[in-house]
């Protein structure tokens, strides 16, 4: 019986084999474990925590929890009653004593403009309030905005523990106080434009990179090694050069008084007054990003083309195919793997591009990453920034998943 085979120490072979395999699995896992835990704890969990900020309003909710609770019974059709205003008064007073009213002022200001000054002015006057008189009237006396029901509605909504409204803002929608969802006024719409521009630039750059990379990758793959190694420098030198160096070289070239315009003027193609606007718009972003990302398309294409035997094309032409027909039917389909690998790589990189658009793009050529950075660093609306980041991340992960399906991560090669 085969199952009776035993090893020298008397154990069943099948049992021993399983043991050895288990030990090897553990060893392999333990080797990967340090990096795995490092990446998960120092990187992935922080990302999820940060993205959680896009729906998280717990701090506000806790600051004004009693107000929030009592407001649930208020239907919002008329001004809030004394039950609401009195509790809000005491809670606000507590916050002012703990010096936390600045935080709620900022958060409420995202809900409705004007809240910062409203809360700050009210906070200064809280000590003058008569606790036996009508609170609402006294609030209105301090600032007439308290007489506007929208501020109370914003307060009710702004104290929910979780909300998804920033995701609506990401796509230029807003939720009215009655719960209906509408597009925001036309002149305020900026985010959809940016999303569309980002996708357009990413797709366009990917396509241009493909068009430019295909012929040179082919040339590199058919030339004798001596020459192709030399030409490969043209691809690898930009690849290894600092991104900022390449971006600054495009700034030098594309400026109004830059090298490109100077050349065109001295050649008489363009008049001195009619210098081209190549920078601080989409053109600049597009040209610079194409050149910067081109190596990422050439390298995978080249490595695929290198494996295609030239005899295939010769066989096709010897059997009567015209060179173009042979290319279309034989060569091109064989390069699909390289095209998809390169395209996805370039697309993923360009959809999150930040530095080059910020320097070359000006106001008209910035992409979604620049908007995220603006909300992170300048407007400090982190909820909106992280909502946008979440959408961007989901988009990238979908493309990454496709890459994995089509190419496989194991086949990823660099340089």
């Amino acid at each position: 019986m085969p199952s009776e085979i035993r090893t020298s120490d008397g154990e069943l072979l099948s049992v021993k084999l399983k043991k050895v395999e288990r030990r090897r699995r553990t060893t392999a896992f333990l080797l990967a474990a340090p990096l795995l835990f490092f990446i998960v704890f120092a990187y992935l969990i922080p990302i999820f925590q940060m993205l959680g900020r896009s729906i998280d309003n717990v701090q506000m909710h806790e600051f004004l929890s009693d107000t929030h609770d009592v407001m649930q019974t208020w239907d919002g059709s008329e001004m809030p009653g004394e039950d609401v205003t009195s509790i809000f008064f005491y809670e606000l007073k507590g916050l002012v004593e703990e010096k936390n009213h600045g935080k709620i002022a900022t958060r409420l200001n995202y809900e409705k403009g004007g809240f910062t000054s409203l809360i700050k002015k009210t906070a200064r006057k809280l000590d003058d309030f008569d606790e036996n008189a009508n609170f609402l009237d006294q609030f209105i006396d301090v600032h007439k905005k308290w007489g506007d029901i929208e501020y109370w509605l914003a307060l009710k909504r702004g104290t929910d523990a979780y909300h998804y409204r920033k995701y609506l803002t990401t796509f230029d929608f807003e939720q009215k106080y009655d719960g209906s969802i509408e597009r925001i006024p036309e002149k305020k719409r900026i985010n959809v434009t940016l999303w569309l521009r980002t996708i357009f630039v990413a797709a366009g750059v990917t396509f241009c990179c493909f068009l430019l990379a295909y012929p040179i990758s082919h040339l590199l793959s058919v030339l004798p090694t001596r020459y192709s190694n030399l030409l490969m420098i043209c691809v690898l030198l930009p690849f290894w050069t600092s991104l900022l160096v390449r971006t600054s070289s495009w700034m030098v070239l594309l400026q109004k008084q830059g090298v490109l315009n100077d050349t065109l003027v001295s050649l008489g193609i363009v008049a001195d007054e009619g210098r081209l606007e190549l920078m601080y718009n989409m053109t600049g972003t597009f040209i610079a990003m194409t050149q910067i990302l081109l190596p990422f398309m050439v390298l995978p294409l080249y490595s695929v083309m290198k494996t295609i035997p030239p005899s295939l094309m010769r066989a096709a032409t010897s059997m009567g195919a015209t060179p173009f027909h042979a290319f279309r039917k034989i060569y091109f389909p064989l390069t699909y793997a390289g095209i998809s690998a390169g395209s996805i790589l370039v697309f993923v990189l360009s959809i999150g591009y930040y530095i080059t658009p910020a320097l070359v793009g000006g106001a008209k050529g910035t992409l979604i990453s620049n908007r995220i950075a603006y909300h992170m660093q300048q407007s400090l609306d982190w909820s909106l920034a992280t909502a946008m980041a979440t959408v961007l991340l989901i988009a990238v992960l979908i493309v990454y998943w496709l890459y994995n399906k089509i190419v496989g991560i194991d086949n990823m090669r660099l340089g």
Partner: protein
């Protein structure tokens, strides 16, 4: 690429236009880099080719911007260069050790959940830098490490490891297991086999991974924008260039850029030598 004599005219035309297109694309790739180099020797304040430079007059060229770079009044470049090298050095060591060890596990046939773990390990390369930058900043801030030397090194280790993992796994995928089996059948301990057989064979892969990690850290700009928090003592070369480029394009930046191009040329030469060495070793091991 000479065409045979019997080639029809239209294919001849097509062939030559193909070569012209290729030349144009190679020019598009490499020319922008070479514009910077002569401009860094400009004697004037402005970034354009002066008439004197075009006429190759010696007085139109000078080293004043290199002087400014090294001895300049505020001289941020000295601190920046020192910091850049420190960050890159320490993060390369960290990323190379962590990445190589993980790659050894990942290349094992017995590795469980290989695809999933691989995806997690290379995620810092895939996730847009703006998201990585802010997330790393928030987590470092919680630990009190934002705008500190160790904090920046940790951030750069995270960004560098995927490159090490990828290059070392690629090297190991061509690795012939029978060599290590031969070693153990001859009585070598696993540790001994690793250091005497495996490690020397995968060294080119490790070095090229380390080089990637080094360059990633050395060129990194988005994450450091968040993590350095505007501390002038923590500035790096890319950060300094970013600040400079946002204000105005100065010839000193051109001088720095030229130095960086020289550096990338050196890196290119090293990678090329490594590639040849690795091909030679593999050629031997395949026989």
């Amino acid at each position: 690429m000479a065409l045979p004599k019997y080639t029809e005219t239209r294919y001849r035309v097509w062939h030559y236009s193909y070569l012209v297109i290729c030349t144009a694309v190679f020019f598009f790739l490499i020319a922008p880099l070479f514009v910077i180099i002569p401009l860094s020797f400009n004697a004037e304040q402005y970034i354009h080719f002066s008439d004197g430079m075009l006429a190759l007059q010696p007085e139109a060229f000078s080293l004043r911007w290199y002087e400014d770079m090294i001895y300049g009044t505020k001289n941020p470049w000295g601190i920046a260069a020192r910091n850049s090298i420190y960050y890159a050095f320490f993060s390369t060591i960290g990323a190379t050790i962590l990445g190589t060890v993980a790659a050894l596990g990942l290349s094992s046939r017995y590795m469980p959940y290989k695809q999933l773990i691989m995806s997690i390990l290379i995620s810092p390369m895939i996730i847009p830098l703006i998201i990585s930058g802010s997330a790393i900043f928030f987590s470092l801030a919680k630990l009190g490490l934002a705008a500190t030397f160790p904090g920046i090194v940790i951030a750069h280790i995270i960004l560098g490891t995927p490159f090490v993992v990828i290059t070392v796994t690629a090297t190991l995928s061509g690795f012939d297991d029978s060599i290590t089996r031969a070693a153990s059948s001859l009585g070598s301990t696993p540790t001994n086999t690793f250091f005497k057989i495996t490690l020397p064979l995968i060294t080119p892969g490790i070095i090229s991974g380390a080089l990637f990690a080094f360059v990633t850290s050395f060129d990194e700009i988005v994450v450091i924008l968040f993590v350095a928090g505007g501390d002038r003592n923590l500035t790096t070369i890319p950060l300094q260039m970013w600040t400079g480029l946002r204000e105005q394009l100065s010839p000193t930046i051109m001088a720095v850029a030229t130095c960086l191009i020289v550096l990338s040329t050196l890196i290119l030469i090293v990678t090329e030598l490594l590639r040849r060495r690795s091909e030679r070793i593999r050629g031997i091991s395949a026989q």
